[in-house]
């Protein structure tokens, strides 16, 4: 019975693809002169591999692909699976397509672009991972932004005072540690408020965000205003052998420490969450705390530890801003990334790999915006920048299914007496 419902939804998407495909084939591709090409380079320098793509024909091909996958979606129930996959792939195809169209007549470095996406996605991914630790145990964490901001501020403050007394790398390392612990302490405050005193978790999170803004701008005005000099950041680390690999080498293996630790944390979180005792207990506590309680799991303890870990990771995300990227601290320097991280987490359905995917999408979009400014696109760059968001949201919402949060999220746990 229920395939009819799904089929109907698929039909809507199929029509969407059909329309978009026709628009690309008929409307857009013809606007580019036949000889106009976009040169995609893979690396820097003259020796780097290059691919020249004729813009018009590329768009035409993508358009045709859209039309075909749309028709496939309308072809009947035997084609539901292939059509779904075709459309998901079609959704992903929009990213290179936008880039090719935007860079028409010029050349653009794909590797830099990818690297930039991953780099800009790093704090978002860290925030998403932080959110997953917390929310999987049933505690909403909208305070990631505040935890990051506090981490960024106190991490840099530490460096500000240590920088002259210790070798730079040592001072940086200790500063990152301080940032991480700052995040953890902020999270403990969230824990005390929302787990022990059972304050509404949104209210508690908001309190922490406001607190972080106030405290950090106070600290900056009192102690950090004189900082102009230096701008020291964490050093890049080239991973031997791996960094020499073609394509992935320069994209992945010549970066800064927090970038690497983000990937490590994604993998560790995935393994812990789905393959260890702690992860199983965390998920149980987030879904049905009373059931966990009746098998002897200390719900309060599990939540505290998870919230604390969440804060540590958010603090590391904060360090990315002040210590890995900028080498300084500005008011509100996290710039809403903590909230975008929550979006990435939900987008990834509360899974670490999904969260990473979401973060990379946001990172790509940001990188695209910068790229457009460099290429001097006549359109407002914000407009092209939203294209990947819109497409991904539509495709994911419609074809992949909706995100269901942990069932006990937001509910304080009260033991019976």
């Amino acid at each position: 019975m229920w395939p009819t419902v799904r089929l109907q939804r698929l039909h809507v998407y199929a029509l969407l693809f059909l329309v978009a495909g026709m628009w690309l084939t008929v409307g857009v591709s013809a606007r580019f002169p036949a000889e106009e090409t976009t040169t995609l380079t893979f690396g820097i320098g003259r020796t780097a591999p290059k691919v020249a793509l004729p813009v018009g024909r590329t768009l035409l091909a993508v358009g045709v692909y859209y039309v075909v996958s749309g028709l496939l979606g309308l072809a009947g129930r035997r084609f539901v699976r292939p059509a779904t996959w075709a459309m998901i792939f079609g959704g992903l195809l929009i990213f290179p397509t936008v880039l090719v169209a935007a860079a028409a007549g010029k050349q653009t470095n794909v590797l830099t672009m990818l690297n930039e996406s991953l780099r800009l996605g790093t704090p978002i991914a860290l925030g998403a991972i932080a959110g997953i630790w917390c929310e999987r145990s049933g505690v909403i964490n909208i305070a990631i932004e505040g935890m990051m901001l506090a981490g960024a501020c106190f991490g840099f403050t530490t460096f500000f005072f240590l920088g002259e007394r210790l070798p730079a790398n040592q001072a940086l390392f200790i500063s990152v540690l301080v940032a991480v612990i700052t995040g953890g302490l902020m999270a403990l405050l969230h824990g005390v408020l929302s787990i022990t005193f059972r304050t509404d978790q949104i209210v508690s999170g908001t309190v922490i965000n406001i607190l972080a803004i106030g405290v950090t701008s106070f600290v900056r005005r009192e102690y950090l205003l004189s900082t102009r000099a230096g701008r020291v950041t964490l050093p890049s680390i080239e991973i031997p052998l791996l960094s020499d690999l073609p394509v992935v080498g320069p994209v992945l293996f010549n970066n800064k420490p927090i970038f690497y630790s983000m990937f490590l944390l994604v993998i560790v979180t995935h393994v812990v969450l789905f393959y260890t005792r702690w992860g199983l207990r965390t998920r149980a506590v987030g879904e049905h705390p009373r059931a966990a309680d009746t098998v002897g799991i200390d719900v309060i303890r599990v939540r505290y530890i998870n919230v604390f870990i969440s804060g540590l990771i958010a603090g590391l995300g904060g360090a990315w801003f002040s210590l890995e990227t900028v080498g300084g601290f500005d008011d509100l320097m996290t710039n809403g990334k903590g909230f975008i991280a929550l979006a990435a987490m939900i987008f990834g359905k509360w899974t670490p790999l999904g969260g990473l995917g979401g973060a990379m999408l946001f990172g790509f979009s940001e990188a695209l915006g910068t790229r457009f400014q460099i290429l001097g696109i006549p359109l407002p760059s914000q407009f092209l920048q939203i294209v990947p968001y819109v497409v991904t949201m539509v495709v994911l919402a419609g074809l992949v299914g909706r995100a269901i949060p942990p069932a006990a999220i937001g509910q304080p746990y009260e033991k019976q007496s």
């Binding site: 419902v5 199983l280 998920r283 149980a284 049905h288 966990a292 009746t294 098998v295 002897g296 799991i297």
Partner: protein, 526 residues
């Protein structure tokens, strides 16, 4: 049992006070090694409190617990589990998004290095499953399996923790009669292999069928312990309630009159957008009770919601007294003379934070005499409230007490009072006696029959087969969103209904009869 074997479990003088309530009052009882000991009592008699004390969820104010002859202190479920006590809660303690295996090992995980050892766990579960005849699928997600299956998972979960004292809290309330029989077989196999079971229930038939000994709790006190051979239903009911109870509903033959409710080809979707009611057609005439039997979750909820205007049907027609009310708002349907006793009384039947008096005028407050223009007439509301509290014997300290402070039975009486005290021609009662005590059940049943005799058409939806059989003049069985059979109540047997509820049609005659009813239904559709 020979005298030197210490009892598996013994409690002495257990007392537990909650603010304003004495939940357990010096309760002492003994669970012998290898027996099924039924603990019988009304809701609020203190059964669950006592079990939560034994399982370490509550601390007793007074009294001692002995396990296998040794005095023990149980501070938490962990202590209980260590002592070999396992509990299957009335509301299953399973995490829907985890697999059967994950749920079973939760809290007692086996690991290999830092990782969970799923293979080892699965083997152990399959072993237990074979040993006790408890069929479970280790890799299924709990949210995808049936209630009976979930219950087996709960039992395996306790056994996995090497429990040899099992507490089953109202285990049959969610099962079909056949599933309950299967459960009893499992219980017997468990006791045959040396486990001891405390079986909590308020169903007298089951107690007599399966228990070795029976203890009855009333108002926190242990009234007595007996065996099935020495007692019968009436005696047990009297022990539970403290007075004689009429178990059989006395009713004269129905005198059906005009057709009041007519439903044609109704299709309704559930919250997830999947079809829950799939082409249901039925009629209820004045002065008769149509009972709809069925295991919970077969579309009854959505059917009732559609009939009462709480959920918009996809297609089909609903007529009340010849008037088409399909998809009309609840107030219109109420004013058309429909009373609704909803299955979830706390959610749909009352406003917990309102007073009893306000709840009693919840669907009439805007009309005279309770309102004059925009102003409420408090005196009228209060007077009406006092009258209904008296007439329907609602036990409340005052008409201004918040509805949430009432016991379940009294909340239900309050809802019944509100719905039955209006001039109505149709009563839609969904699980009208779920979770309430024998005394209140008797009272509500009598009122339903009285309404029927006054010429009200009654649609009764209940998962309690006994209730459907006791009250109905005609019985229909709902299975997977369809009415798969309909028959006069006097022709229906428990076995036959039980099979139909499970979606099985065994007897030739039954198949034949169904052919007739579905042809009848099609005729109505066309």
């Amino acid at each position: 049992m020979s005298a030197h074997v210490p009892p598996a479990l013994e409690v002495r003088g257990i007392t537990k006070r909650f603010p304003g309530v004495l939940a357990n009052d010096h309760v002492s009882f003994t669970l012998r090694q290898g027996e099924i000991h039924a603990l019988l009592g009304e809701n609020g008699a203190g059964k669950t409190t006592l079990m939560n004390i034994i399982y370490g969820l509550y601390r007793p104010d007074e009294g001692d617990i002995y396990v296998r002859g040794r005095r023990v202190e149980i501070h938490s479920p962990n202590d209980a589990i260590r002592l070999g006590i396992g509990m299957v809660h009335q509301h299953f303690m399973l995490v829907p998004t985890l697999t059967v295996t994950e749920n079973i090992v939760l809290g007692h995980e086996v690991t290999r290095g830092p990782l969970l050892d799923r293979r080892h766990a699965r083997e152990r579960i399959q072993e237990l499953s074979r040993q006790y005849g408890l069929l479970v699928d280790p890799d299924a997600y709990v949210q995808d399996i049936s209630v009976g299956h979930q219950q087996r998972v709960e039992i395996v979960k306790a056994l996995y923790r090497q429990a040899d004292i099992l507490i089953l809290d109202e285990p049959t309330s969610v099962l079909t009669p056949q599933e309950a029989e299967d459960l009893f077989a499992v219980m017997r196999s468990l006791t045959a292999q040396g486990k001891s079971i405390i079986f909590i229930t308020h169903k007298l038939k089951e107690v007599l069928a399966v228990a070795d000994r029976i203890s009855v709790l009333r108002a926190g006190r242990l009234v007595g312990t007996t065996t099935p051979a020495e007692t019968d239903e009436a005696t047990l009911a009297a022990m539970m309630v403290g007075r004689e109870v009429v178990l059989r509903v006395e009713k004269a033959p129905a005198q059906p009159g005009e057709e009041v409710l007519r439903v044609e080809g109704l299709r309704v979707l559930d919250d997830r957008g999947l079809p829950a009611v799939n082409g249901v057609s039925l009629t209820v005439r004045a002065g008769e009770v149509l009972g709809i039997a069925g295991v919970q979750g077969n579309g009854q909820t959505e059917l009732v919601e559609a009939l009462t205007g709480l959920r918009r049907p996809e297609s089909g027609r609903i007529l009340i007294n010849g008037r088409d009310v399909t998809g009309r708002p609840p107030r219109l349907i109420t004013e058309a003379g429909t009373a609704h006793v909803p299955e979830d009384r706390q959610r749909d039947g009352m406003v917990a934070a309102y007073t009893v008096a306000d709840n009693l005028v919840l669907n009439t407050y805007y009309k005279p005499p309770f309102a004059r223009g925009l102003v409420r007439d408090e005196a009228q509301v209060a007077q009406f409230g006092r009258r209904l509290v008296r007439e329907f014997d609602i036990r409340t300290p005052s008409i201004y007490a918040q509805a949430r402070t009432l016991s379940g039975g009294n909340q239900q009486k309050m809802i019944v009072a509100r719905e039955f005290s209006r001039p109505i021609s149709l009563l839609i009662a969904s699980q009208p006696t779920r979770g309430i005590d024998v005394g209140a059940i008797e009272f509500i049943h009598q009122h339903i029959v009285r309404l029927r005799d006054q010429g009200v058409a009654v649609l009764l939806v209940s998962a309690e087969l006994d209730e459907v059989m006791a009250l109905s003049d005609r019985i229909a069985v709902m299975y997977r969103g369809e009415l798969i059979a309909e028959m006069p109540a006097e022709e229906a047997t428990r076995e036959q209904l039980g099979l139909l509820m499970a979606g099985v049609q065994r007897e030739e005659e039954l198949v034949h009869k169904m052919g007739v009813t579905s042809a009848h239904a099609e005729g109505e559709n066309g």
